[in-house]
């Protein structure tokens, strides 16, 4: 039984997450078919192109809603990176993943209502959500409406550069997705994080609280606990 539960994932966020997740998977599959020019696979090439374009539009629109939702609600605070000590926190978390967890160490940055992401998560999500995704949306719009693209950059044509950049970003997001899905299995049990993303509640178990490092917490000091829209906490049964 969990010590307490935190409502990390409100309904709007979960809807966005699963639409985005399904969309990204379709985009990666169809993107591979397009990039490698695969004919005669499960999805016909022309259908893959159409599907990629339609899904791209849906993902772009859903990203817009995520962006607005994140700005409006408490969610944006979880993405704030405090630069002081950032490197050492990343190092500490990486150490935990690489060998700490195998030696039975406790997570260095256990999650609580002030901290939804550990430093590695926060950094990777920040880059994915606020750099790579907007860039891939912009380059995708450029390829759909090529008159928007700059004609030439030195001796390279703009369409070619945009296509390469779009494909490279897609590949980075594919690698991120693989790691993201795998890292989601690192929880109280392998399916715990998947359950959280369905019912919205993240479960805190007592043993996680041990060895807690607060060096990442003070970024919310000014807002917390005065903030009115911070996530609901269910104290659970003690």
């Amino acid at each position: 039984m969990p010590l307490k539960r935190i409502y990390f994932y409100p309904l709007w966020l979960r809807i966005w997450h699963w639409i985005n997740g399904a969309g990204i998977i379709i985009l990666i599959l169809t993107g591979f078919i397009m990039h490698w020019g695969i004919h005669g696979s499960v999805i016909d090439f022309n259908i893959a192109v159409t599907l990629h374009n339609v899904t791209g539009i849906i993902v772009a629109i859903s990203y817009f809603f995520f962006f607005i939702g994140t700005l409006l609600f408490y969610n944006s605070r979880y993405y704030r990176i405090r630069l002081r000590g950032w490197q050492s926190r990343i190092y500490k978390q990486a150490q935990y993943y690489l060998y700490g967890m195998f030696k039975g160490e406790k997570p260095p940055f256990p999650l609580n209502e002030r901290r939804k992401f550990n430093p590695l998560q926060k950094t990777s999500y920040f880059y994915v959500m606020f750099l790579f995704l907007p860039l891939i949306v912009f380059t995708g719009i450029g390829l759909m409406y090529p008159e928007l693209i700059i004609d030439k950059v030195y001796r390279y044509n703009g369409v070619f550069l945009t296509a390469m950049f779009h494909a490279a970003l897609g590949f980075i997001l594919f690698i991120f997705l693989l790691v993201h899905i795998y890292a989601s299995t690192i929880g109280y049990d392998p399916l715990a994080n998947f359950r959280s993303m369905i019912n919205g509640w993240h479960e805190i178990h007592d043993h996680q609280e041990e060895g807690k490092d607060h060096s990442d917490d003070d970024e919310f000091d000014e807002e917390y606990p005065a903030a009115k829209d911070h996530p609901t906490v269910d104290p659970g049964e003690k």
């Binding site: 397009m34 990039h35 339609v54 759909m144 409406y145 004609d151 044509n157 490279a168």
Partner: protein
Amino acid sequence: MWNLKLNLMCLALLTGAFSFAAGEPVMRAENHQCLRCHADQTYSFYNAWTEKEERRVMNPFHIIDTSLYLNGVHHSFSCVDCHSMDYQTYPHARELKLEPLATCIDCHGGDETYAQYHFEEIDADFARSVHAVKGGENFTCGKCHNQHYYKVIARNSSRVADIVSADNQMCLSCHTNAIRYRLTSVHDYPDFNTVHEWLPNHELHFRSVRCIDCHTSVTDSLMVPHNILAKEKAVKNCSQCHSSNSMLQATLYKYENLQARDQSGLLGAISPSRPYIIGANQVPLFKILSVSLLLATLAGIALHALLRVFIRNKRD
């Protein structure tokens, strides 16, 4: 005589009315008088000197193909809209041959109706071309774009082969015709096949690629670049087209995308008309990097997962 003329005119108007009802372009009634001679290989006239009616051969450059004329963009024009009104008297006065004719820009320049055709940009692009520089004012638009028969094919045809053929025909009308070539050039007429001998599969190239794709500085902002370069500057490097970073490929991509949207609206480019994709396997370095990164990620995940399972089992 007057009755005959009146009857002919009525007949022409009636024919015109019926054709118009059927949606076909109709020849202007007043043009029939000109076409009596200019749509024929011969013409007759009264020779006041010999006091005889005589028949002569019409200059082939002055013969109008009426069906091509009616299919052209200027089909609704009267001959004297562009030519001197004095041509209505017959035999024509000798000095009429010297009349200055209007160029495309005289009518189409600065007109918002034709903004989509970018006449001013074309004019500026053409002014830099070898045609303009070497041919001077003698090299008018009409040397390539026959005003009598001109059709908008590049924008209206959905088949690239038709566009290529129509486009190349303009170049070939002089470059495979010594007489027309000499109209604008004082240089020796170069044999078209000899100068293109170096190009492998040249027949296939001429069917698939526009002459201007190699003989202009291709910009993808202007659909049909008019800056024809000197022959020394023509593309002779195969890899300029047959490579990943090909300007031609980018132009084609843009062209097909814009055309799809013209036909099916803003989201018209969502569905491809044919399996054309820019970017497939184009940068070998990217391929090696991406495959290595993917394999390293998968190996890392597999190793991590195995370690977790192993340690969990050991603890249990």
